[in-house]
């Protein structure tokens, strides 16, 4: 059990492609990852600072609306607000297209998978107005540039990001003894939401060695972390809790409270052994198996601890471990991986993936939702379920089969011959039953659909 180019693409990348060759070694995979982000330059996605202009516009319009309530002008302002929201929604459609294009054409599939994994680990979404469409700009700016560096930098980038601060109610959290809370008693107080999720989800894990007191003290330390529409991330001293806070036995909080105090705590949490273990386990479950080899987790955890959380070192430990290359079938692909790997195997042209909103809904959003994943509409801050059982449901299987038979011919009108597609999609050793079905199908669409619906394609 060692490196295999086919498995490298299927298990750790975006699937096999008839036009892009598979990586030839672990070294090459990691060099690609540390190298320039070529595919992002080719299929750009709006960054968050650019997206913020949309939020600035919305905020100004809302202010206008308040000032002009009940006047003739208010209808125009409402229409401008609707336009602002619609432009965001259409933007999100084009960014989904860019994600599809990247995954169809990239030679650096591991990077796409990591962006998705960490974007889900740091799940955040807008709760109203145009901010609902900020999902891709957030991952583009706050996640993607950080996936191969130190975890602490990724943690600081994501957990203090304006979208996360908004999503987990941090913006309204004021220390109980802050100037703000004292000036307006009863109106402002502590909100523990972000602090709890940082400990429970982002770093130590739910079984980690923290108590409710740690949650509260971290929340008091975080008080003041907020965002402004114009500047982005912002620290408000009048929200800050005076005095030091003790989190996991370490005292934080300089007299002149600011980001540095929060970052110091986040760096320590990132380097904590429980974080090393939690993240290594989650990565192994995501990429390798629902029940990963304990030795694999141990090797990854050791690499994490030896390097204070250098993620590339953790990935190297995973990719050079024999159990990472146990023969397929491994995990079932998540709905997005399933759809995008099918597009890649079908070599769908980039322009065919640039769809109008309605078309995108019919071909991608709705089918994916039926498979159990509502794109960029998380059910909660813990993101997507990792275990296979959550995805192998009657509805999920029906939606995948339905998509596999109906949609490929719309994305690529001239479908390949199923007998050839068999090895394009599944590699040189397709299972006998799938080969038989591809041959016996009554139409090309059925043949392609059965290959894509086969366990050999759905699992990695």
């Amino acid at each position: 059990m060692s490196f295999d180019p086919v498995l490298a693409d299927i298990r750790f990348g975006c699937g096999l492609s008839p036009t892009v060759s598979s990586p030839q070694s672990v070294t090459q995979m990691l060099e690609n990852l540390r190298g320039p982000d070529l595919i992002a330059a080719q299929y750009p996605i709006e960054t968050f600072p650019v997206f913020r202009e949309r939020v600035i516009e919305r905020t100004a319009l809302r202010r206008d609306l308040k000032a002009n309530r009940g006047t003739a002008k208010s209808d125009d302002i409402r229409q401008a607000l609707a336009r602002n929201n619609r432009a965001g929604r259409k933007g999100a459609v084009s960014w989904l297209a860019a994600h599809l294009q990247r995954r169809t054409r990239t030679a650096d599939g591991f990077r796409e998978r990591l962006e998705f994994f960490w974007g889900d680990h740091f799940t955040a979404t807008g709760k109203a107005g145009v901010l609902q469409w900020a999902g891709s700009p957030y991952t583009e700016s706050a996640i993607r540039p950080f996936v191969s560096g130190k975890f602490e930098n990724l943690l600081i980038s994501a957990a203090t990001h304006p979208l996360m601060v908004h999503y987990l109610d941090q913006a309204v959290s004021a220390g109980p003894n802050s100037k703000r809370a004292k000036r307006k008693p009863g109106q402002f107080g502590l909100n523990e939401n972000l602090a709890r999720e940082i400990l429970e989800l982002h770093t130590l894990g739910v079984d980690g060695p923290y108590t409710q007191d740690d949650v509260r003290q971290l929340a008091e330390l975080l008080a003041g972390l907020t965002h402004s529409v114009k500047e982005g991330r912002k620290f408000r001293k009048d929200f800050a809790e005076p005095g030091a806070e003790t989190v996991l036995g370490v005292s934080y909080g300089s007299p002149n409270r600011g980001f540095e105090d929060i970052e110091a705590a986040l760096r320590d949490l990132a380097r904590h052994p429980a974080t090393a273990r939690h993240l290594s386990t989650k990565l192994a479950v995501h990429f390798v198996s629902d029940t990963p080899d304990p030795m694999l987790i141990q090797a990854m955890t050791a690499a994490y601890r030896d390097t204070d959380g250098d993620l590339t070192a953790v990935y190297r430990a995973m990719l050079t471990h024999p159990s990472a290359w146990a023969p397929a079938p491994g995990n079932i692909k998540l709905p997005f991986d399933y759809i995008t790997s099918a597009c890649r195997a079908l070599d769908v042209m980039p322009r065919a993936l640039r769809m109008k909103e309605k078309t995108m809904r019919r071909r991608i959003y709705t089918p994916m939702q039926l498979m159990g994943h509502q794109w960029q509409r998380p059910d909660g801050p813990d993101g997507l379920e990792e275990l296979d059982a959550a995805w192998i449901t009657p509805q999920g299987m029906a939606a995948r089969l339905q998509w596999a038979i109906a949609i490929p011919q719309l994305l690529r009108p001239k479908l390949p011959d199923p007998r050839e597609f068999l090895t394009t999609a599944l590699g040189p050793m397709p299972p006998e039953r799938v080969a038989f079905a591809a041959e016996a199908a009554e139409s090309r669409a059925d043949g392609i659909g059965l290959i894509l619906a086969s366990p050999a394609f759905q699992r990695r």
């Binding site: 709760k127 109203a128 039926l370 909660g380 039953r433």
Partner: protein, 400 residues
């Protein structure tokens, strides 16, 4: 699926091994013959626009002159004309409303939090991770794997939790040639878990109206499947949900839930509210028509929303997020034909925050009394476990 709940319950599995939550199939007791359908009205239904207190002295000052098309219910309340098709149910005592009700959610008026609380069934946010319908299932006598269905694309956190529930969206329809069906079974033979799920999917897809096996040309099949994936909006989507619910409830299932969107009527409420109410009306009529009279007599359909809306109209002939609202009940098991309320009045001083209808009863109390009447659940199970922190209070006598 509410994955948070799923994960949490998986992780704490050991500590609750002794709890009935973890072995829902093994309950003693005879399976119930009663059926409960819970419809979530997402967006905040305007209770005052649906069941209109024409008799309130402050109605005209609040909402303007009464619409003549509204249908008189009891001399005080009148029904929105878009629900005209439900009047026969009202006359037959199979339709009721609870008015001036709300969840314990107050003040921030966010859809996001309001729906979370409506589905969690707790007093405050983040108190529990699962949904109240799921906790109810743990107390249901004779519950089994087919007892509860979450229907549609909505993840329905109200049904998520430790007790397994079935999920199916009629939109996930399948239409394949008989040959492709055989081959799909064949390729799945390599993987027992996937094979089992697909076999069940074929059974479900066969039972929801149109057969999976399709004998037409590939072109005809394509257009039919395109029609299925195109169905999320418009009339047929909700009717499809109701038909599938009726199909399941006619078999082994006893509990079903789905949602209807479109209640966030910030502007031009007359048109937008009517549209949403027509969906709701079609759903209820479909359920009644599709269920046999015998089963309809044992069925209660209840529609709840995350909050009501402002008492007064806003500048764009709509209403903004409010507090107190209305809940709708339908079904043969009801002691219906009544608007049940401790009416707070519409005078400005009687409003919540001087803007919203004042809630005078917790909507969970009505839900609690319904499940107590239908499934003979213990008072303590309802007040402590299903709706933690609820005081059931007096019996409103919702059922016959």
């Amino acid at each position: 699926m509410n994955r948070r709940a799923f994960l949490r319950n998986t992780l704490v599995g050991c500590s609750v091994a002794a709890s009935p939550l973890i072995t829902p199939i093994s309950f003693a007791g005879a399976p119930t013959d009663n059926r409960l359908v819970v419809i979530l009205l997402r967006g905040g239904m305007d209770g005052l626009g649906v069941v209109r207190p024409h008799g309130d002295p402050d109605y005209i000052a609040t909402r303007g002159a009464p619409d003549r098309r509204a249908l008189d219910l009891d001399g005080f309340f009148a029904l929105h004309p878009a629900l005209a098709d439900l009047m026969p149910l009202w006359s037959a005592g199979e339709l009721s409303f609870a008015h001036a009700v709300s969840t314990p959610y107050r003040d921030k008026r966010s859809h996001f939090d309001g729906q979370d609380l409506l589905e969690a069934g707790s007093v405050a946010l983040n108190q529990v991770r699962d949904g109240w319908m799921n906790r109810m299932l743990a107390h249901l006598p004779g519950a089994h794997l087919d007892t509860a269905y979450a229907i549609g694309n909505d993840p329905l956190p109200v049904l998520s939790g430790a007790v397994p529930v079935k999920r199916w969206s009629p939109q996930a329809d399948l239409a394949l040639s008989p040959q492709a069906i055989r081959l799909a079974h064949l390729v799945m033979e390599d993987d027992p878990a996937m094979a089992a799920a697909l076999t069940e999917a074929f059974e479900l897809a066969d039972s929801d109206g149109d057969a999976v096996a399709f004998e037409g040309t590939p072109r005809e099949m394509m257009s039919m499947m395109a029609a299925d994936t195109r169905r999320p909006r418009g009339q047929t989507a909700e009717v499809g949900l109701a038909k599938f619910a009726a199909n399941r409830l006619s078999g082994a299932s006893r509990v079903a839930s789905f949602s209807i969107n479109g209640w966030d009527t910030h502007a031009r409420q007359e048109r937008n509210l009517a549209r949403a109410l027509q969906s709701l009306s079609r759903v209820i009529v479909t359920l009644r028509d599709e269920l046999s009279p015998h089963i309809w007599q044992r069925t209660t359909v209840v529609a709840v929303t995350e909050f009501g809306r402002t008492a007064r109209l806003n500048g764009s002939q709509g209403t903004d997020h409010g507090t107190g609202g209305a809940m709708l009940m339908a079904g043969g098991a009801l002691n219906g034909g009544r608007v049940i309320t401790d009416w707070p009045g519409l005078a400005e001083a009687d409003l919540y925050d001087r803007r919203d209808l004042m809630p005078t009863r917790d909507v969970r109390a009505h839900l609690g009394w319904l499940m107590r009447g239908m499934f003979a659940l213990d008072r303590s199970a309802i007040e402590r476990d299903i709706f933690p922190g609820l005081e059931l209070g007096d019996d409103p006598g919702l059922l016959l």
